[in-house]
């Protein structure tokens, strides 16, 4: 899919290299949170509430006196886990649906397309809120809601790729040799459809981080004391006049991560020259 | 001086040099065919004359171009724009994509007379419908109000021709005007176009790869090969006594009546890519009469017994 040479080309561009570095840092911080964070994320100390950023608390403390920097590092764990898990589920299910619909066509395709078109015009946030209304707030619900909210995108994209590949001669040739459906789909169609879907999935992970944060901000995502970038800002709104850093730093963390994802995604799209395949979907 | 004169035109696009010394002339009221296989630089020559090179990132690097005494190479962009459409008009290669798909046919023809002749809406419409009728478009008033996608390819090409004639130009540049059309319609459209051009006494630069069209319409012919002029002569000379082996091959390949099917021949080998042109005479790898000198030195375009040609053959024989 992506050869070592392509990857090197991506990393050697200023945009690709810098965004990859930022992403690697965020991921490392999330994975090694207990070693990186100076304090535990849940140690409260009301004497130290709403402290300004200082040498001992780089990003200040929140209304319970918890170290904001540590909470942001642990928050990266929450955000990345939720976003990556949700999008992985979405990609896996979307690819299966899209591949089956595109390959077999007929009534099944019509049904899938109808559902996809139905959800397509609805904003992800509305779909997520609708699902949360049904399954209740929480991190697992957030994950499921995000997975379903983005399902249409991957189904549509995979279906379009399969449709355009299906008629290409090599697939026809394989079919004529008596290969089974599963063989054609898994050995010939999906590998070729994979690249654009993976890249779209990567870009959607950025959107999913924002959606997770938004739901957290509404109080519908991660529940206290689990640190989540969105939920941290939610409690911070009450302190906006006295401790604006509680809002500024988590938002900055989201913005930097999502910008890095987008820039890296752009670099990959350009290096693989697949912008056209991602269009119109 | 000729009405349109192109001398030693060199055009570069990026690091490539797709046109490498093109020279030809078109007199007032003359129809000149510019022929060659795809990739010989015919269309690029047409674009150069129209001053449209900047659109594709091209640049004139050397040479001279004059039109009715105007130096086209030093002409400022606004001045060039005023010439385009008004004094020199283009009939493009693909009528299917040359019209704006969301604007009515009529408005697209009207645009010319309104822009260049200062016509009001009513007068422009009358003129456009009159032109459409001259191009034998049936039910012109209805077509006037329709959209491009509602018309056939042949009909669209007539519209493009009407558009080109609408501002009374002096020179028309037709860039392979019929390649995208059915064979049966091709001859018909060329015939109407040539008739209208002759009637008005206009000059026509007819770019084509179809020697049959050349034979049907042209006074003189310029043969291009790989960005250079191979031969330039009157139509009679080109067909009766071609000097350049490439011209001979082109003429030999014209399908003739009574030919058994399947015997139609192309010129062996392929047109070289602009990325790596052969040294010396660029035709030498495909030339049936190639000599050692052809690979070593570039033949100049010079007067031969019948016309102008860039070939070592006669020169070498003359010295023997």
């Amino acid at each position: 899919m992506v050869s070592a040479a392509t990857l090197r080309n991506i990393l050697l561009t200023p945009r690709g290299g810098l965004s990859a570095l930022v992403l690697a840092t965020v991921i490392a911080a999330a994975v090694f949170a207990p070693f990186v964070a100076p304090y535990a994320y849940d140690i409260q100390s009301l004497r130290n509430a709403n402290l300004d950023p200082s040498w001992s608390n780089w990003m200040g403390t929140d209304e319970f006196g918890r170290d904001l920097f540590s909470r942001i590092i642990y928050g990266a764990r929450t955000s990345l886990t939720v976003a990556i898990t949700a999008i992985s589920i979405s990609v896996a299910v979307g690819m299966s649906l899209g591949a089956a619909a595109g390959y077999f066509g007929g009534a099944f395709d019509k049904a899938v397309t109808a559902v996809v078109d139905l959800t397509w015009s609805f904003p992800e946030i509305l779909i997520a809120l609708m699902l949360i209304a049904i399954i209740g707030p929480g991190l697992n619900s957030t994950m499921i809601a995000i997975a379903i909210a983005y399902l249409a995108q991957f189904t549509r994209l995979t279906r379009a790729q399969i449709m355009s590949l299906k008629n290409e001669t090599y697939v026809e040739a394989t079919a004529n040799l008596g290969a089974g459906h599963a063989h054609i789909i898994f050995r010939h169609l999906l590998p070729n459809a994979l690249t654009p879907v993976i890249v779209a999935g990567m870009l959607a992970t950025g959107d999913a981080i924002i959606l997770e944060a938004t739901l957290g901000f509404f109080g519908l995502g991660a529940q206290p004391p689990t640190p989540s970038w969105g939920a941290m800002m939610s409690s911070g709104t009450a302190q906006i006049f006295i401790a604006p850093w509680i809002i500024i730093f988590p938002g900055l963390a989201i913005a930097v991560t999502v910008i890095a994802i987008n820039l890296f995604g752009d670099a990959v799209i350009e290096a693989l020259d697949i912008r056209n395949r991602l269009r119109d979907v | 001086m000729a009405f349109l004169s192109v001398r030693g035109l060199v055009v570069g696009i990026g690091r490539l040099t797709p046109l490498d010394g093109i020279s030809f002339e078109i007199g007032k009221g003359e129809i000149v065919g510019v022929v060659g296989e795809s990739g010989s630089g015919k269309s690029l020559t047409a674009m150069s004359v129209m001053g449209l090179l900047p659109l594709i990132g091209g640049k004139v690097k050397a040479g001279a171009m004059t039109f009715d005494g105007i130096d086209l190479l030093t002409l400022p962009p606004a001045g060039y724009r005023a010439l385009r459409g008004k004094r020199m008009a283009l009939i493009s290669q693909n009528p299917m994509t040359s019209l704006d798909p969301i604007i009515r046919i009529g408005a697209q023809i009207d645009q010319m007379s309104r822009l260049h002749l200062g016509f009001e809406a009513e007068a422009a419409k009358a003129r456009s419908i009159d032109l459409m009728e001259q191009l034998r478009i049936p039910d012109a008033a209805t077509i006037y109000g329709s959209y491009p996608h509602q018309l056939s390819g042949g009909m669209k090409q007539r519209i493009v021709i009407a558009m080109a004639l609408a501002a009374d130009p002096d020179l028309i540049i037709a860039d392979e005007p019929t390649t995208a059309l059915d064979v049966t319609i091709q001859a018909q459209i060329i015939q109407i176009m040539v008739e209208l051009v002759r009637e008005r006494g206009l000059s026509l630069m007819l770019v084509t790869h179809d020697m049959g069209v050349v034979a049907q319409a042209c006074d003189r012919v310029v043969v291009l090969y790989a960005g250079r002029v191979a031969e330039s002569n009157g139509a009679g000379g080109i067909f009766e006594a071609p000097s350049h082996p490439y011209t001979r091959e082109l003429v030999r390949c014209i399908p003739r009546e009574g030919q058994p099917p399947g015997s139609l021949k192309g010129i062996p080998g392929a047109v070289p890519s602009v990325m790596d042109y052969p040294s010396g005479c660029r035709f030498h790898p495909r030339c049936p009469e190639a000599m050692p000198i052809c690979e070593a030195s570039v033949p100049a375009l010079e007067r031969k017994t019948t016309g102008l040609a860039a070939c070592h053959l006669e020169t070498v024989h003359a010295h023997v």
Binding site: P123, L129, M130, G251 | R81, R84, D100, I102, H116
Partner: protein
């Protein structure tokens, strides 16, 4: 055009039915007895029984849906559990605020987005293009609620130019519209820019140059006009996305509106209100999409013919 409109409306009916089924099912899918999800807290057994009878909660699901759907069409959306008012009254109070915010944000996104995208395309690779590209990147990556909070910090808290929150004055609309708008501007500007650069390469544009049409007229009268087609397509597909932005931003600015009402009710598990809000938002999205389709058909003769 009328035929087109009717066809599109007919196409929306199944969508509306499916959406209404999902929304109807909320009170049944939430854990617990459906009746507890719609009855006001502290109601007497008699009041409960009355509700069961009113919605036919002891009858088959399909009948219940039919009853609910009929009442909904008649404008009876039930009673709010916590807020103790008819849901329709709550929606009537909040809808105008959302409509104003949503339409202003949409207008702002469209106008500024098209202008920015067109300028970027015409002056490609200049500082204008780079600035627009940066705005596009920020607009599509910065979470809108955070942007809203930053705006409050800067303009309301630090500079004191605008009210922090609320909806009493027109100036209170400025920050929310700007906040939602940035995302919308980014979307519209990106599509406009790409479309214009794409269209500028088409044959008919070259032909327009050959016709001697001045460059600025080609850009504005032809290229931009064509670029509007994909822009309107994207807008009609993603109109709900901009309206969705309004949901988030109302909450941030503590403005009354369907979004605020929905989030508050979700947190309080006031299901009749949640259902009402979701239904109204879904209708808004569908009507927005329809509007986009109509504008598209008005602009492109090929669209009109394809669907008639």
């Amino acid at each position: 055009m009328l035929v087109f409109l009717i066809k599109r409306l007919v196409l929306l009916i199944p969508v509306f039915v499916v959406v209404s089924v999902i929304i109807f099912m909320i009170i049944h899918l939430v854990p617990g007895d459906p009746i507890d999800n719609i009855v006001q807290i502290g109601s007497s057994p008699e009041q409960k029984a009355e509700l069961v009878a009113k919605y036919g909660l002891d009858r088959p699901l399909l009948v219940q849906y039919a009853i609910w759907f009929g009442k909904t069409l008649g404008g009876d959306l039930g009673e709010a559990i916590i807020l103790r008012q008819p849901v329709s009254a709550l929606i009537a109070q909040n809808l105008p605020h959302s409509l104003i915010l949503g339409s202003l944000a949409l207008a702002f996104s469209t106008i500024v987005g098209i202008a920015a995208g067109a300028l970027a395309a015409i002056f490609k690779d200049s500082w204008i293009d780079r600035t627009v590209m940066t705005v596009i990147l920020l607009g599509s990556t910065v979470p809108s609620f955070w942007l809203g909070l930053l705006m409050i910090l800067l303009f309301a808290v630090q500079l004191g130019w605008f009210p922090v929150s609320g909806a009493r004055t027109w100036s209170a609309l400025a920050l929310p519209v700007l906040t939602i708008g940035l995302g919308g501007v980014a979307l519209v500007a990106r599509v406009t820019r790409v479309a214009m650069m794409d269209i500028a390469r088409r044959d008919f544009v070259m032909m327009l140059h050959a016709k001697g049409v001045p460059g600025w007229r080609i850009q504005l009268q032809h290229v931009l006009r064509h670029a509007m087609l994909p822009v309107v397509t994207i807008l009609s597909l993603r109109i709900g996305w901009i309206l969705g932005g309004a949901v988030t931003i109302e909450y941030v600015f503590a403005r009354p509106g369907l979004g605020s009402l929905l989030i508050t009710s979700l947190n309080q598990r006031d299901y009749p209100v949640v259902q009402g809000c979701l239904l109204m938002l879904a209708i808004a999205v569908m009507l927005g999409t329809l509007l986009g389709d109509l504008v598209q058909a008005a602009m492109d003769p090929r669209v009109r013919e394809r669907s008639t």
